[in-house]
Amino acid sequence: APKGEQCPACGLAAQAPTTQRDVLIALAKQSILSKLRLPDRPNITHPTSRGALLSALRRIRAQRVDTAISPGMPPDSSLPHRHPGVGVQEYEILSFAESESSTFHNIRLHFRFTQELAVSTEILQATLYLFWAVPSPGTHPVTVRLLQPDPTGLNMTMVSETRLEVQRTGWVTLDVGQAVQRIFGQGSQRLTVEVEVAEDWASLLLAGHRDSHWPFVAAQARVRMPHRVQRR
């Protein structure tokens, strides 16, 4: 500060305590929202149930431990960009499915990502978590398709197709990193997952499991770094 002038924060001390508090709260709110790239506080219309959230967090932790202790594999080897550098803001995103339509053989799940994140971040990794409630013993063929809306939004384009053999009830994970990267790269915010089964138990994927076995995508992202020019 030029000599004789106050430092930026010094003016605060001259205010009445209630005004000081109001100023600090306004500053704190503005600071949090701007750092999260949010124009305003989100209005939550469909909060995720606590059971679904806790279950998802447990699954992610279990998955990381499994990955870290796999024989012959260094810890976190599946997370190639875990340490992008000091000061780079990272995000972990949990997107729970919205179901659009289901039949006995087929179900469609939608995962919607917020525009601010799609624009400002790059996806490092994304995993789809599905819980199978297998109705009977044996091997059950399942096809999982990742779909993306075309620019008109009317039709769907298939990004990838994976065939699985499900043998028992439990969680299955699928790497959807490239698909989500592609969707973000094209300015879209929605990933659609189509699950098709040969028998008539597709609805079991969602029915009765809303609380703790709800399908979700866990993604890791970081703030998109602008290209830097260095001068020596």
Binding site: C7, I25, I32, L117
Partner: protein
């Protein structure tokens, strides 16, 4: 860094906690329950410049040089954060997704004179 006490007017760290429930943000911020923002306040006489200070080796050298050469042109020193840490947040975004992130440099841990 020094935490502010009742009597001292020198540069120190003032604690400030914003309870998310109090401002009606508890519906979209899942964790933590509030924000320990803290801030720096107090006087920084010129002789305190660079104590403990930011990048002291460079700034102290320049300030001392200015002081030595021309006291009238000297600048006042400011009480600023010298150590900050990130704020971890678990929150709902606008599409009801759940996001976890660490916002860097959000919590003031220590203050000092520039």
């Amino acid at each position: 860094g020094i935490d502010c006490s009742g009597t001292s007017r020198m540069c120190c760290r003032k604690e400030f906690f914003m309870d998310f429930k109090e401002i009606g943000w508890e519906d979209w911020i899942i964790q933590p329950e509030g924000y320990h923002m803290n801030y720096c306040a107090g006087l920084c006489p010129l002789h305190m410049a660079g104590i403990p200070g930011l990048a002291t080796s460079f700034h102290t050298a320049v300030l001392n040089l200015i002081k030595a050469n021309n006291a009238d042109a000297a600048v006042d020193s400011c009480c600023v954060p010298t150590h900050r840490r990130p704020l971890s947040l678990l929150y709902y975004d606008r599409d009801s997704n759940i996001i976890k992130t660490d916002i860097p440099d959000m919590i003031v841990d220590a203050c000092g004179c520039t």
